[in-house]
Amino acid sequence: MSDFEKKILDYKNKLNNTKDLEEVESIKTEIFGKSGFVNSEFKKIGSLSVDEKKNIASNINKAKQELLEIFKAKSLDALDKDLNEKIKKEKIDVTLPEHEFKIGKVHPVSQVIDEISCIFSEIGFSVEEGPDVENDYNNFTALNTPENHPAKDMHDTFYLDENMKTLLRTHTSPVQVRTMLKGKPPFKIIAPGRTYRSDSDQTHTPMFHQLEGLHIDKDINMGHLKGCLNYFIKEFFEVKKIKMRFRPSHFPFTEPSAEVDIGYRVEKNKIIIGDGDQWLEILGCGMVHPNVLKNCKVDPKKYQGFAFGIGIDRLAMLKYGIKDLRSFFECDYRWLNHYGFDPLDVPTNYRGLSK
């Protein structure tokens, strides 16, 4: 065995016996470094003949190749070992709190407005809006509520001027007036929005939300009104059947007028909508008064139809079991978090209204 072969064997043994990555690296420098074994062997052959050179160089290269293979395997092993040790040490208590993902919430009133829009969209209603500040004419006069009439007492109005000509709308009904005045029949709209009455106690807030509905065409009658509301209530509460009662009532802007009650029962302190022997008043409606149509430049001899008004906050309270109306506007972080909706939870017709 030549010195060369012996040296090679030595290195091989040395390598095979080591497990330490650092040692492997130092042996690697010893062999392949600038003044390492391989280079010095190559230097030695400078003075030899071409044939000898060729022969020895080929031997060196062969040995170099072999050693490199071992190195590769060795360093992989060593790396693996290091990694294993590192992994062993990397023990994290994964029950520690995760990094907070901050997703916000959509207010239940907004969610319910979206649900309502979704339902009415299906039966061809489109959404209209009107300003919060209204004039006396749109809020009362055009809606057949005469000056100095006790019917006006039912609305505790906020006024913006001493002459009581500009006010905060007391209902969403002025949107009916605006819609009819700016367009031509047929009309088939809903109008959700903020409404205001100077009233504040357990069950009243000075601002609340209403939904107005209006459907005017050549032959829309009370049967359509009943069908429309029945459909809406069923869809909204996501029940198959609903018990409904129409009671005659009075609103200046509709004739005949009705209040609508839905049946419910209480089970384990929870209101179950749909059946039961108790009644809950939820909305007012009626056939649009011919005077209103006239005031809105619609010919009552040719057109007729219905209108309704629903308290949105109340619907939200019923559907989502919220007890206190005032809490809607108190912005309590806990409340918003609890009753608010995931913004990705968009009510749709194909997916359904609620999760």
């Binding site: 916000g104 009233d199 309590d332």
Partner: protein
């Protein structure tokens, strides 16, 4: 409006039970508010037991008793009876009750320094017997009845309370209710009582209605009844008065009240002996005053309708009588008034004086002008029956005729409105039963409206009468058409909904706050908008319409801070007002973010917020709403409620649409809080004028190169200016510019800063070589140095 079944029976012959009637009333639009046991005058008095009777500390003859009245706690009652002792079962009268013997109303009072809650009663005080020695001593059997009324209810009838809509004054009388029920086949209406009274004396008080402008009184009927003995009302009348929730006063007063609720015919009784000379119905003069029966003095303004004599006002027409001519138990001679007052003027007067009464409630809704005589007849009849006396002839002054109006009515309109076929005969029957008079005229009917129905004006009102009596249950529901001809949401509304959810998805909780706010706080946010005051605010803290969403958001943010919630992100989307006219409002999405640093937090926070967090939220929301960053520009001019140095405004590139603002809120308003606003109408208007079509995707596969530059610029130079300049050098080659460092401080002149940026250069047509890259780099350096007076740092 309250009544009892037996009262109803006076007017309606029916076999229906109370509960059937209640259901029917609901179905025909007379909403039953509640049905509750009649309140007896004596139901206040309850069985009680003296637990402990101690000597009164300040009076020898009085005792201080702990009394068990069946409630959780005993009550303290001071008692003078010698027989008051421990464990005595007796009868207790609570504060508020009236002692039958002397009509005294009990109040919580102090007797010799000790508070007494109510009274323990003797038999004579309760009019059980004449025994007045000591308090009642009940036998042991009453032990189980402590807390229960001592007197058994005489009948078990209920009071039915209706909530009558303002259009139905006729149902503010029992007769009107009976009429509606009879029309709904719930019995037959009894005929009106025939007057049998003899008019034996002469009406000798001159009555005149002054014919002035705005005279509210058009009819004034009266009669005189002399030599009466005003007394307590008989039991039946007392019970009716009690059923109404009123206290019986005297026969004369009770009778006028009774007729008002029975026939919806308000009346008033005057003591003639206190009237000076004559009665004149006139408009009031300024600063006249009236001491009214409610024990208040009213200063009148001009043109209120007063009933007056030569001395001055005796009462306010249709509203309230005056004390001066009021009747009492010793009144001998009375004048009964039955009149008609105009609804509007009556309402105006009562509003001005803030004065409500049962009479006013009726007159402002409209009383049957033809009921003047009937009212006098019924009341006079009752007075002479109960109090005796002699009645005069009726004096009816009238200055205006009240004609019954007629409507031309086509019965087919009923079916057309309600959607089901209704026979003309049914229509005729219902309307006739309700008192309408129908005459056929060809295809139409001429319908005479009964004088007690001021709410009926046109055909559609008759439709309502028919369908409410027939019952809404008969209307068949028609399934809605599932057809959509118009989009549900318009362009603006789509953005509203998207914006709402977009902001919510960035960690903000949506709130809904009042559209009004506190003027003092609002002033910090209203900029140059004039304050929009509410004339009648609900409280002084909510007295103006908001000119910004910030005041309320900040208010609630701070409330939550007090509740212990440090980190908060809140937002609202809603109106902000720019003027007091309808439509002077904009929709703003306003977000607010507060970080609360707790020194106890041992884990070092890595999520400290700064202006760039709020900017990120805003930019990302705009992006989701379809506005790319390169369509916008940011300037540092913001409203004064932002920190002047740490805030910005986002405009459309051309600067003509203000899309939003962001920044730290002014530290004088709130510290360490960031906020943003998006002006939705501006955004939508910008978008609708700048509709984009998504371009097809083109990208270059040639190699791209990054070149880093650091420029020394003036401190006031904005990063955006640098980017804009570079971008415009060669848009086909410069694909991206990213600022990665801004440095001020050591090695740099104090008025300068260094901005380092990375420019990505790529050609769509070839691989750029070193020469190309150097060329463009040189161009960048030269242009920047020239246009923003910058200097390349070596």
């Amino acid at each position: 409006m309250k009544f009892t079944k037996d009262w109803l029976d006076d007017h309606l012959k029916t076999k229906k039970t109370e509960s059937q009637i209640v259901e029917k009333l609901n179905n025909i639009g007379l909403e039953v508010e509640k049905v509750e046991p009649i309140k007896n005058e004596l139901s206040d008095f309850i069985v009680a037991k003296i637990i402990k009777a101690k000597k009164h500390p300040n009076a020898d003859r009085l005792k201080l008793c702990d009394v068990d009245i069946g409630k959780k706690d005993t009550v303290k009652v001071v008692c003078g009876a010698p027989n008051a002792k421990d464990n005595l079962l007796t009868i207790y009268a609570p504060p508020g009750s009236t002692i039958p013997k002397n009509g005294m109303k009990l109040e919580v009072s102090k007797i010799r320094g000790e508070t007494s809650y109510g009274m323990l009663c003797s038999e004579s005080e309760l009019k059980i017997s004449n025994e007045s020695e000591g308090i009642i001593d009940l036998n042991y059997k009453f032990q189980s009845k402590i807390g229960k009324p001592y007197f058994q209810k005489k009948n078990n009838s209920n009071v039915i309370e209706l909530s009558i809509t303002p259009n139905r004054p006729d149902c503010l009388g029992v007769r009107g209710i009976a009429r509606d029920l009879s029309a709904s086949s719930f019995g037959s209406l009894r005929g009106t009582r025939k007057s049998k009274i003899k008019k034996e004396i002469k009406h000798n008080i001159r009555v005149k209605i002054e014919k002035s402008k705005n005279q509210a009184c058009s009819i004034f009927g009266s009669c005189i009844i002399k030599n009466i003995t005003n007394t307590e009302s008989p039991g039946w009348l007392k019970n009716r008065i009690l059923a109404l929730g009123l206290r019986p006063i005297s026969a004369v007063v009770d009778i006028t009240n009774y007729v008002m609720f029975d026939l919806n015919r308000p009346l008033h009784a005057y003591d003639i002996d206190k009237i000076k000379n004559r009665i004149i119905i006139r408009n009031s003069k300024k600063d006249e005053s009236l001491a009214a029966l409610d024990n208040k003095k009213y200063i009148l303004s001009e043109n209120m309708c007063v009933i007056s004599d030569d001395e001055g006002p005796l009462g306010l027409g249709g509203i309230i009588g005056g004390k001066r001519s009021g009747t009492g138990l010793n009144t001998k001679n009375i004048l009964l008034e039955s009149a008609y007052f105009d609804p509007e003027i009556t309402r105006k007067t009562s509003k001005k004086l803030d004065l409500n009464s049962d009479a006013k409630f009726r007159f402002e809704r409209g009383i049957d002008p033809h009921s003047v005589k009937e009212g006098l007849e019924v009341a006079a009849d009752l007075v002479i029956n109960i109090c005796g006396g002699k009645v005069s002839n009726f004096d009816i002054q009238q200055i205006k005729k009240h004609e019954t109006s007629e409507i031309k009515f086509d019965p087919s309109i009923v079916s057309k409105t309600v959607g089901i076929k209704i026979k003309t005969n049914d229509v005729i029957k219902i309307l006739t039963d309700l008192g309408f008079n129908l005459k056929k005229k060809g295809k139409h009917f001429n319908v005479k409206i009964p004088s007690w129905r001021p709410d009926i004006f046109g055909e559609i009102d008759l439709v309502e009468e028919v369908i409410r009596i027939m019952g809404f249950d008969n209307i068949k529901s028609i399934e809605p058409d599932k057809k959509r001809t118009k989009p549900t949401l318009n362009f603006y509304q789509k953005h509203f909904h998207l914006a709402q959810r977009s902001v919510a998805s960035k960690g903000y909780f949506e709130t809904i706050t009042w559209s009004f706010t506190d003027e003092i706080v609002n002033n910090k946010f209203r900029e140059n908008i004039e304050s929009i005051k509410i004339v009648n605010p609900i409280s002084s803290e909510l007295n103006v319409l908001r000119n910004s969403l910030y005041p309320n958001l900040i208010y609630y943010l701070e409330k939550n801070l007090n509740r212990g919630f440090g980190d908060q992100s809140l937002f609202e989307i809603g109106p902000s007002f720019t003027g007091k006219k309808p439509g002077q409002q904009i929709t703003v999405i306003c977000g607010i973010k507060k970080q609360y640093l707790n020194s106890e937090d041992s884990l070092k926070r890595t999520d400290l917020i700064d202006v760039f967090h709020i900017k990120k939220d805003l930019i990302q929301t705009l992006l989701e709403l379809g506005i790319d960053k390169d369509e916008t520009k940011i300037v540092d001019k913001t409203p004064s409620y932002y920190h002047p140095g740490i805030s910005g405004t986002i405009l459309s590139k051309e600067g003509n649409y203000t899309l939003g603002c962001f920044g730290a809120l002014h530290p004088k308003i709130i510290t360490n809080t960031y906020g943003f606003e998006i002006f939705l109408e501006n955004l939508v208007n910008y978008k609708s004028k700048n509709k984009k079509i998504k371009q097809s995707l083109i990208f270059s596969d040639y190699q791209k190169s990054d070149r880093d530059f650091a420029f020394l610029v003036n401190k006031s130079t904005k990063a955006q200016d640098l980017i804009d300049v570079i971008k415009n050098i060669d848009q086909s080659l410069i694909k991206n510019i990213k600022i990665f460092d801004v440095y001020e401080g050591e090695n740099i002149p104090s008025d300068k800063k260094s901005i380092a940026l990375k420019v990505t250069i790529q050609s769509d047509f070839k691989t750029l070589n070193e020469k190309d890259l150097n060329e463009i780099s040189q161009k960048i350096i030269l242009t920047v140095e020239k246009q923003v007076s910058a200097k390349l740092r070596s």
